[in-house]
Amino acid sequence: MSRPHPIGAAVRDALTAQPDLSMFCTYQQDDLVARYGADRMVRMPIAENAMLGMALGMALTGRRVLVSIARIAFLFSAFDQLVNQVTTWRYMSGGQFSVPLVVRGFSRGGEHLGAQHEHAPYGLLSRIPGLVVAVPGSPNSLAGLLRTALTHPDPVVVLESPLLFAPDWADLPEPEPSPAALPFGVAGLARTGTDLTMVAIGNTVAACLRAADRLAGQGVDARVVDLRTAAPLDRDGVAAMVVPDRPVLLVDEESRAGSVMTDLALHLVQTGAVSPGRIDLLTGAPVPAPVSPTLLAPLLPDVDRIVDAALHSFAPDLRRKNP
């Protein structure tokens, strides 16, 4: 119950191990300032574009910065630096420079802050060449992915669901055994099962694990795969993790068009990992996030909808096993 959040140790361990690591933050973290000094814990004004550019300048000159951007929604203010600068300088310079910087911020979930604060744009970010997009689905995987990010030689964005920090975060289903470093581009098997595979990312990992518990009560044994990173996307790894000859349900909060799940679906079908009739997607609606919880609920996949999709999309398959 009083378990410390694993992110704290991940950040402190990195700051201790890497004297060249600085943090840019718009919110003061007094304990970290006291421990690592104001020179490294740089307090910044609300100026995301300049923050990302400065982090790039430091990265190009041999340092590393963890940019705590508060909310991923604010990353759009810094999109020039992210898309045109941070992720291109290595390539444009013919490989003369590398850009080890990390951006972390709250994405979406449980806060009901509305259309300008609630974003989980991993599909969009995953299309930027050279960028790692980490989308942790549990507190331990957040710590594990951040640990890798802080030693990674290329730019990384970590989209952190506020649900991973909510008062009841310790009650979230936890597929990772420990907060140890997790590799990028390697999906994890969050739950074993033999009847169907559900592929999840970010907030849908917990939802799928809870749905799998519900399905188990109805005699359906569901496997859950956690993508962990939207880029690199572990297409081959997922193809190897689906249950042969059984259905696959891809579950995503983002809308369908151009999403990592449509990309993955094509790969699974093209490689023959799943037959076209046995794959389905359950995704979010292409609608800005309304503040009202009543209006938001129907736009996102939740446990009820996942259970329903699992049972109905593949009714013939599941009926065959569970007459």
């Binding site: 300049a50 550019g53 000159t61 020039d80 290595r90 310079s93 995953s126 060449p129 050279g130 581009g185």
Partner: protein, 319 residues
């Protein structure tokens, strides 16, 4: 600064840039080129004042900065032409030159985006505690961008050793700056209470003197400083494709500035006969252009290299 070597450096840039424009008119330059002709005294005067380990950050009008920073002219030209052996392997072209060996951190084609990047490098310099400054070049249009304001306020608050060199040529692409701003660059930075100095950007000795003092103040803990150099382009803002754009600036303004060419201003103060030197630089430039034109194309297999350190396995490319 030795005036004769400054003249030589400025002449080298001038002839290089005129060569690039000739090549562009022959359709040999992929993409756009932004000539530095007329502004040579700024790059040469400022960079003669930097310490060898100090980083330089530039923008799309970067050829002059790269050459004055010490980048090998032939490799710069090969890069501009997209040939094998270019400074950045054919991936930067004219607008994004970077040269780690000569401490050119890079150049960006997005107006003002270089300012925060340079401020980050200055933060590194401050943390390193080696007393180095960072020099960033920008046009006067850049000071109207949001990122400039953000950067200058942060750099001032953090007392970052950053020298912003504003090349005020009075034009933002084809728009006269006076039409789209209500404050001159000096008034803008005065409003931010930043130390600044204004200088005749066509007088290489004046530029050098001002830059030397401004850099000393930056390095000495004075934090961000601004050098506003008034200058003018001999040619257009940019050329895209083989046809040079028509002149768009008022004839009287153009005449007035072209009469004060930085090469003439410097040459008038040099007593030695410059005939031999001019012939020598012209021959060198012709030779490097010939060699660059003789170079082959880059290996197409390198198109996908250098996106990440970790390589294609982590790019997640669709196969």
């Amino acid at each position: 600064m030795d005036l004769l070597s400054a003249y030589r450096a400025m002449l080298g840039i001038r002839l290089f840039e005129e060569g690039v424009l000739r090549l562009a008119e022959q359709g040999l330059v992929p993409g756009a080129t932004h000539p530095y002709t007329g502004q040579e005294a700024v790059a040469v005067g400022v960079l003669a004042a930097r310490r060898p380990q100090e980083w330089v950050v530039s923008f799309y009008r970067c050829h002059g900065h790269a050459l004055a920073a010490g980048s090998p002219p032939e490799r710069v030209l090969r890069e501009i032409l997209g040939r094998d052996g270019g400074l950045c392997g054919g991936k930067s072209g004219s607008m994004h030159l970077a040269d780690r060996a000569n401490r050119l951190l890079g150049s960006t084609s997005i107006v003002a985006a270089q300012l925060p990047i340079a401020a980050g490098a200055a933060m590194s310099a401050k943390l390193d505690g080696t007393g180095q400054a960072v020099i960033v070049f920008c046009g006067d249009g850049a000071l109207g961008a949001g990122g400039a304001y953000e950067t200058l306020t942060i750099a001032a608050a953090q007392r970052l050793p950053l020298l912003v060199v504003c090349e005020d040529n009075g034009w933002q692409d084809r728009t006269a700056s006076a039409l789209v701003r209500h404050l001159a660059p000096t008034e803008l930075v005065r409003g931010l209470r930043l130390p600044y100095v204004e200088v005749d950007g066509n007088d290489v000795e004046a530029v050098h003197g001002a830059a030397t003092a401004a850099l000393a103040a930056c390095r000495d803990g004075g934090g961000v400083g601004v050098l506003v150099a008034h200058t003018y382009l001999r040619h257009f803002h940019s050329q895209l494709g083989p046809r040079p754009p028509a002149e768009y600036r008022p004839a009287a303004e153009r005449e007035r500035w072209l009469a004060r060419d930085p090469l003439t201003v410097a040459a008038d103060r040099i007593t030695a006969d410059l005939t031999a030197l001019r012939a020598e630089v012209a021959a060198e430039t012709d030779a490097l252009i010939r060699r660059a034109l003789d170079a082959g194309e880059p290996d197409p297999a390198t198109a996908t290299t250098g996106v990440t350190v970790t390589g294609d396995a982590l790019i997640g490319a669709a196969r």
